[in-house]
Amino acid sequence: MTSKVRKTIIIISLVALLTVVLTYGIADAKVTGPCSNCHTMHNSQQGAHMQYLAPGEEDIGPKGALLRGTCLGCHTATDGSTWKSSITGAPIVFNTSEPVFNEAKGLAAGNFYWVQTEDTKGHNIFSQDSKLSVAPGDMGFSGCGTNNCHTNFHLAVSGTGNPALDGKQGCTKCHMVNTVGPKGFHHKDDGTGTKYVDTAEKGWYRFLEGHMSGSGHGVAGIEDDDWQYTYSSTDHNEYLGSQVSGGYGFGGLGNTMTAYCTGCHGVFHDNQGTASPWLRHPSDKILPTSGEYAAYTTYDPLVPVARPSSFDWEGGPSSMVSGTHGDMVMCLSCHRAHASPYFKMMRWDYRGWPGSGATNGCNVCHTSKN
């Protein structure tokens, strides 16, 4: 091997290594770092309180578990460019200015900035939704107490008789529902980087415990290491799905994202049918392998699919989409969980299409309908 060839190989290797280093983020689901990032012993430092206050928050008093803030206190940024707390490493889900740090204008679940611009754009965790008094598609379950999750997000639940549920408000009406306080999840060790999270011991996927599949269940999936601050066909979350045969209710779907959503929005897909002609847009239905659907072959983070249990979960996110392998449409194929720039938390401007000239995510699956 000549020295010139050797030099070339070394340079290529260095560039390749650089590529890996620059594109591979490090993130811990288990909170790491000095305890004082999140906790305060006396809520006082040189006479000042130690609370992280989100805009509008005024409670500077001590918090349970010696925490230095509410959920929003830690997960809010007062600009539009911060996507991760520089102190705690917490993902920012609420920017007080329009998020501009990526094209999606938010992390994978969206950004609560948008629900403050219009109630229809997100789950309103701040105040009473001006459009809705109950979760649309609610199955009408009773026994969830006053101000339950199906009714609103901004008020605290009471009267359930379940100490883990009473007092839940805002974010905790979806995250860590059955846990008293956040500790049980923030300190779970589910590894580092992009990884598969599928048990309570690991804190479930994004701390989503419960719901439609009941106690002992949660959401399983691959957590992208930067919450999709960057994203591509190979850089994204993965969600567990499960196609139910013999009719559609979602109670028995297991640890799927759809099962979680349908805890409040079950009617959206109730009796949707088992095959075309569908009565409602199917969810957790394996993509057809023929016709226009067969053209969706490369994973588009704009329109994620759910993966079956047979997916190579430990192998990380896949860039491939295939009905043959059991990939499914699901709730998050169309919606973002927190809020989006678009009506009904859509992942694209569905309402404005086609006049807007923008991309219609429907066409990612319905490839002949654009």
Binding site: L132, S232, P277, W278, L279, R351, P354
Partner: protein, 469 residues
């Protein structure tokens, strides 16, 4: 060294591209080019409970993903419905009168009360592509509620494979009958209304055998291509120009090949039941030449000797005098018509002299000697064929010349009594006669003239066994 710099640059560029490239979006499809997806005149539902700010052409105007919007179902309520449609696809109504809820399509393709905003008109074929100055019917719903109509129940059962037999795969069991001829996601607005808007490269129809593509929008799907040199366009109403757009184009090069389109169903092998008629439809062989053993003469089969016809056929710029092939739509409406058998109100540049309310012979009408029968069908025939008025200034819709004096006449003039009843001016005895003087009871046209007919009804010894349609 320079080589390494180039190499590094290429690799870095590739790396940057990897970072900035997003996954491929779906490739372009035809919906936005369709009439329903058009951003200017596409679907736009205006109904109680439906948000006003959904863009024109948006899926939600027809499809409700969750059978609701904001937790409630907008009008028309009552869902969820199959295919996520805003209403049931088709009610299964067997005969007219249809009501709006009988087909999801009628919610918009309707007169006053349409959910489409703004309201719009769809005229009959005669009006749109024939120049009929009449302004009614001005919507598809009313057109279907006409004297004759393309029975939606029969269409549905046929395309879904629930009735008859056919040569194309079954449509899904819950199909809308309109989808037999239209693919709503790709159908375009070819249109002739308002005048000047016709665009032959657009088409609203898809063959049942080719539901996923339009038919007639490409040159190879036009009548001229498939019936080379034998299709003469009929006149546009009140004009020396031609259908379908009042232009000098006379050869069907601007007209979808409706013959190929219609004969996907209406051919000589498919079995199609008609609820309205209470019988199976006649087989139609539009493509077989061969004289008296071939198919219909209005199709690819030829006249026996010659034909006595009006313009534009009599002096056709095609340079032929026989062998014309007509398009199905030259005589028939696709949706509904004020005449029986979907016969158009305007044919070859003029309105039919009278409404054709019945052509079906009653019992005994076709048994020689024939009793006086209806010749209403003649109001259609004489739009192109020479009746006695055309031949020698005789009576309109009287057909003595063609049958008895023309060089192509099948029957002698002086043997009236074998077939005709009544009348005066001689007959039956061989005396000298002429059509100008003879008068006999007419024979129901339909005894001898219908798709697939010959003159089998004629009495023994007078039968020619000619193809008579």
């Amino acid at each position: 060294m320079r080589r390494n710099i180039i190499l590094i640059s290429i690799l870095l560029c590739g790396m940057v591209l990897c970072w900035i490239l997003y996954p491929d979006r779906a490739s372009s499809g035809p919906y936005l080019d369709s009439a329903h997806g058009n951003t200017s005149y596409g679907v736009k539902r205006s109904a109680t409970g439906f948000p006003a700010d959904y863009a024109k052409g948006n899926c939600a105007h027809c499809h409700e993903q969750h059978a609701s919007i904001g937790g409630a179902e907008p009008d028309p309520a009552g869902g969820p419905d199959k295919f996520l449609l805003m209403s049931p696809n088709f009610s299964g109504k067997t005969v007219i009168p249809y009501i709006q809820s009988d087909s999801v399509c009628f919610y918009c393709h309707y007169g006053s009360g349409t959910l489409q905003s703004p309201a719009f008109n769809n005229y009959s074929y005669s009006i749109t592509f024939g120049g009929n100055p009449d302004a009614t019917p001005n919507n598809i719903f009313n057109t279907f509620n006409s004297t004759s109509y393309h029975n939606l129940y029969d269409v549905y059962r046929f395309i879904a494979g629930l009735s008859g037999s056919k040569s194309f795969p079954n449509f899904p069991a819950d199909s809308n009958p309109c989808s037999g001829c239209h693919n709503v996601h790709i159908a375009k607005k070819s249109c002739g209304k308002p005048a000047g808007s016709y665009d032959p490269t657009k088409s609203a129809i898809s063959r049942p055998t080719g539901h996923d593509s339009l038919w007639g929008d490409d040159d190879i799907e036009r009548l001229k291509t498939n019936f080379t040199s034998y299709y003469q366009s009929p006149y546009w109403y009140g004009s020396w120009n031609y259908e379908p757009n009042n232009s000098p184009v006379y050869d069907g090069s601007n007209l979808p090949d409706y013959n190929t389109f219609c004969t996907d169903c209406h051919n000589n092998t498919n079995i199609i039941y008609s609820t309205a008629l209470g019988r199976y439809l006649r087989a139609i062989d539009w493509v077989t030449p061969g004289g008296e053993t071939g198919g219909d003469k209005h199709g690819k089969n030829d006249a026996t000797n010659g034909i006595d016809i009006d313009n534009p056929y009599a002096s056709s710029p095609l340079g032929i005098s026989v062998g014309f092939v007509l398009a199905c739509t030259d005589c028939h409406e696709p949706h509904g018509a004020p005449n029986v058998m979907l016969i158009r109100q305007v044919v070859n540049g003029g309105v039919l002299y009278r409404t054709i309310s019945s052509v079906t012979p009653t019992a005994g009408d076709c048994t020689p000697p024939f009793p006086a029968g209806s010749k209403e069908l003649g109001y259609l025939c004489n739009r192109c064929h020479m009746d006695d008025a055309d031949a020698f200034g005789g009576t309109a819709n009287k057909w003595c010349y063609i049958h008895h004096e023309s060089t192509d006449r099948p029957y002698p003039l002086n043997q009236c009594g074998f077939c005709h009843s009544g009348g005066d001016g001689g007959g039956g005895g061989g005396e000298s006669m002429s059509c100008e003087t003879v008068s006999r009871n007419p024979i129901n046209c339909n005894c001898c003239h219908f798709h697939g007919s010959d003159d089998n009804a004629a009495p023994d010894g007078r039968r020619t066994n000619r193809r008579t349609f």
